[in-house]
Assembly symmetry: C2
Amino acid sequence: MTSTLGYAILAVLARGERTGYDIAAAMRRPVSYFWTARHSQIHAELQKLAAGGLVAFDARHGPGPQDKKVYRLTPEGGDALRAWVTEPPRERPERDELVLKTYASWLADPGLLRRLFAEQLRVHEERLAEYEREEERFGGPPDPGDPRFGNYATLRCGLGYERHRAEWCRWMMAQLSASL
Amino acid sequence: MTSTLGYAILAVLARGERTGYDIAAAMRRPVSYFWTARHSQIHAELQKLAAGGLVAFDARHGPGPQDKKVYRLTPEGGDALRAWVTEPPRERPERDELVLKTYASWLADPGLLRRLFAEQLRVHEERLAEYEREEERFGGPPDPGDPRFGNYATLRCGLGYERHRAEWCRWMMAQLSASL
DNA sequence: GCAGACTATGTCAGAAGTGACATAGTCTGC
DNA sequence: GCAGACTATGTCACTTCTGACATAGTCTGC
């Protein structure tokens, strides 16, 4: 019934109360939990979650034409989130534009392709360096019952992904150069 | 103007003429090019591509209430596809339900979590074995100008991805066991 | 000759997600 | 005192994608 976005919001609120704006700020970058949403979607979803009793809010004075709404998880919301976590994830189709381009790469100019992959490699290496700096700040994995474990475990996933991706870009560039 | 799905269809047609049904069959599994679509979407997109002159078709006798339509790339379609391949990919937000669950995993029962990751690991190891069998059939990378290069390069990406993913699942299970 | 799987094309309602538009108070530095 | 950045909530049109419904001929094995 609740959408995956709904659970993403509950997962953020499980760490403490937030306004819709705060949640949107946390979801702007895919760092740490690999789910993004715009504020337009978040405000709409918060209304649904509040109607379903999974979140509640207090109105507090703040900027803007209306009061700000500080949302928190209700006990029902916490139960729903906990139950959802251990259920098998819904299969989401992989849709990767760069891999699709690679599928058609035999048609293209090798020089332009090398430029494309060089740029992608740069992006992945940059992200990798950023994630490595973040990992250092943890100084080892937190306890699995600590909220910070969630951040660390997703960071580890991101690290592995960026390494695999950078490696593949390097392999592609080597292939394209070998054929000269 | 043309959507990514449109280019995915052009990329399939670049390898030879196909019916909408054939394209749908090729896109049912994310193997080799990491883009999936249902036939309902494909038929609709083929109509748009035909209207734009990027594909053309011959009606031939076949099963069903209407004749079957065998689509092929037009010269304009080929040009559009080639131009698209080397353009930087549009950033697609990462949305990964398992990683999101991991972000909230500190709330959940470690036993149930281990079961979840054990099952995911099984899936990734199975896919990895399948990809490795496929890789063997290639016997080394084809020339970058060969259509088979597209298949091989995307397969390499899939291999790297499944390895990284399996590794991460194993790390998660170790973390969950260490805390007993 | 007939059942069942497969080939084949299409529509439609609805969910999920994007990007633009709309509004307006607060806080910081010059 | 004022500009500009930031906080804050919301709507709306549009695109993309899903899942169900609809239809019907062909091919294989029993």
